[in-house]
Symmetry: C2
Subunit: 457 residues, 2 copies
């Protein structure tokens, strides 16, 4: 029996595991904001030290941005690479947090205990489930069940600029038999999932300039073009009345759902009323005639992530603004080409701008959608192991988010990836009051112990 004593060890040592996670959560490693560069470095150092303490040959590896953490354990059997990210999202608006986002707390809630704080679910809490599974295994058996490489990045929330160059430069060191990625969620609280399709992401920022300075809206209003009006026309034109995106050739490469997957997803009996009700909404906002699960898993989207123009403080200022800008992202599916879409989007916008206004662009990433091959035996082994731990059997699902790392593992290292995670829909990742259920953390650790056992038993 290799499994049961390790599971018992996990249960007995949960408090210590939690203390370690809280220590990591206290480091404000916000990657997109240069003010937190030192804290990203500190989070990487913390992980190196922790991995060394359980026998890994761990090191912090410099990049032009935030460092990578790479750690090796040279065990017997298959070679598994585990990926996670130690950076977190910004925390604004800070006034909507009930507590300091970087002073994590264990809270009692009607649904059980939760770990509250930025990064608790995305992705520090998830990442530590695997680390704690290894720690428990090592404590019980004195060794790990296979050869393991840990690979943690610190730029996932800011477009991962250093990731592919680093993978290309360290191809041999990072190539394993299979990659495990822990940055996704449960299907529901009783049903674990393995994600087999992921949407891609194209990020664009545009700034429209009308007058070359802010003007008095009484003196110039009516005669001078207002860039906020131009931006609103652009954004309003991106969807038609049926919710379809209007960029030319946008839907090239968007596949119809297979009958098989359509049936499997219908079996999940997705409750869109509950899903939307959880966030105060009730009407699916995507393309007419599509299943709600398609809207979030297998249809492309266009969303405004941020928009600003003119005076946005308290009170009123009758300014006619010089500039209006927006951050817009597209979720991509199938074989949609992010670079072609970027080009068509920019051309469409440029054609809409009055001749005496101008538009400037900034890129924020471009990654295609991902479709996993599930023929590697690890998929069946993991599906069985997850089904043993949780009340319901594990499901193969889609994911609306974009985790380009899975595609990079395939393209650069020719390695299949399994996306397994324990987040919940109400974790409020990227939002104020982010949390991770204590049960996600605890059963997540136990799940990895079972998966490692299943893959090596």
């Amino acid at each position: 029996m290799t499994l049961d004593p390790v599971l018992a060890r996990v249960d007995e040592n949960l408090d210590e595991a939690l203390d370690r996670l809280l220590a990591l959560l206290r480091i404000p490693s916000i990657s997109t904001d240069p003010a937190y560069k030192g804290d990203c470095d500190k989070a990487a150092d913390w992980l190196v030290a922790d991995l060394q303490s359980i026998g890994f040959d761990a090191s912090k590896r410099p990049t032009p941005g935030h460092p990578m953490v790479v750690a090796h354990y040279d065990g017997e059997g298959p070679h598994v690479l585990f990926y996670g990210h130690y950076d977190v999202q910004p925390v604004d608006p800070l006034n909507l947090w009930d507590n300091d986002p970087f002073d994590p707390q264990i809270e009692e809630t009607p649904a059980g205990k939760v770990i509250r704080g930025r990064g608790s679910s995305d992705d520090k809490g998830q990442l530590m489930t695997f680390v704690e599974a290894c720690r428990a295994w090592k404590a019980v058996h004195g060794t790990l069940p296979c050869k393991i490489t840990m690979f943690f990045e610190g730029e996932e929330e800011s477009g991962s600029p250093s990731l592919t160059p680093f993978m290309e430069e360290n191809r041999d060191e990072l190539t394993a038999d299979i990659a495990l990625i822990c940055d996704t969620g449960l299907y529901d609280e009783k049903t674990p999932s393995i994600v087999t399709q992921l949407r891609g992401l194209l990020g664009e920022e545009l700034t429209i300039t009308g007058p070359d300075k802010d003007l008095h809206s009484g003196m110039y209003g009516g005669l001078a073009m207002n860039p906020a009006r131009v931006l609103a026309k652009v954004i309003a034109a991106l969807h038609d009345d049926t919710g379809r995106i209007t960029i030319p050739d946008f839907y090239e490469g968007v596949p119809e759902l297979s009958n098989e997957l359509a049936a499997a997803w219908d079996d999940l009996r997705f409750d869109e009323k509950a899903f939307l009700g959880e966030v105060g909404l009730s009407i699916p906002a995507g393309e007419e005639g599509r299943r709600p699960l398609e809207m979030i898993w297998s249809r492309p989207t266009c969303e405004v992530n941020g928009m600003t123009s003119g005076y946005t403080g308290d009170g009123f200022k009758t300014v006619l603004p010089s500039k209006a800008s927006a951050k817009i992202s597209f979720r991509l599916v199938g074989t949609q080409d992010p670079h072609a879409i970027r080009e068509n989007f920019r051309k469409m916008v440029e054609d809409m701008i009055p001749a005496d206004c101008s538009v400037a662009w900034a890129e924020h990433g471009a990654s295609p959608a991902g479709q996993m091959t599930t023929t590697h035996p690890a998929f069946d082994q993991a599906r069985q192991a997850l089904s043993d731990e949780w009340p319901n059997a594990a499901a193969y699902v889609g994911c609306g988010g974009s985790i380009p790392i899975a595609g990079y593992f395939k393209d650069i290292l020719d390695m299949d990836a399994m996306l397994i995670g324990f987040g919940k829909d109400d974790d409020q990742i990227h939002s104020p009051n982010e949390k991770y259920d204590l049960s996600s953390f605890h059963k997540g650790i136990r799940s990895w112990v079972r998966i490692l056992d299943g893959m090596t038993g």
Copy 2:
């Protein structure tokens, strides 16, 4: 000869007058921001002391907001009330100022010396032209040529909430034979003007709520309605393709330009290429088929003054925002009813909001347009006095801005008002690097001396 020695005194003492103006400009009396409440008070105190020093019975008068300054000089002859405002606009974006907005400087420019700093043109510099005219007159003649009341408010840039209650409570004290208002501009650098029509102003702020918290755009994008998309549709729908505003009944009460005024304005040979070129634009953005001068003087407008949603910091955040908000103002003409327009605007927006989203409203003022009666003899006297001081004869013009005080003088105190000011189109009022030409200040003081002489001679 009462006039020439006073004009000579103005010329000789210009440096001292300038020092006083700079002292007033150093007080950051931003009325819309509660952080500057103490500074508004300080500016009022400064004015009280200055007016006392030239023989006025001056006092600071409390209101629920910022205080009024009222000062009386009990001379012989007609009773003139002079109005100005000592509060200023906010200064953001601060990084676009070449110098501290509240450390005013005299700068040499190719067009001559300018006084650079917030409030230099709007309205402290203008207000002080009249005060300095009185000071010079008093210094030369030992008395002032008529009975004068000064009336300065500190809330003009924040909707003047205390103004009409104060006027109603102090009706007898404030009623004079005619009001003089110094908050407008020259027609051009050679041509002084008296404004005889002013646009009204309706200010509205709307906040659209979609989801009840910020969401991850990958997890919810496609299924959850994005309030920034809703707001963009609302703003885009406010103008049709010909530049007309689409709110139902919006144009009720908008008069056609009389043949007489159309001819007079055509005589002004307004150079819209130069006017727009000054701010980096070239295409008139108002209603098709309208004269550019109509667009800014006699047609109503709808402008976005500010707009915000989601993440607007550096970098990128794939958030699906909970809220999107905009500050929108309408300039009104003729007999357009601001309250009816507010109602129709809100109804139109509410009809566009998806059933699971909501909209909240804030009011920021509602004042109708103003049309001056020019039969009072002071109009002809002032027009002659201005024509004597400047290279070209004075013109009766329209003004795109909204100076509701003129209407209040008529409605509450049954008093005609003359709007005479010396600002220039390139003064950048409400914008970074606001300035007032030294020639505006100097010839402005001389103009008031001539007007006082003309009205009492």
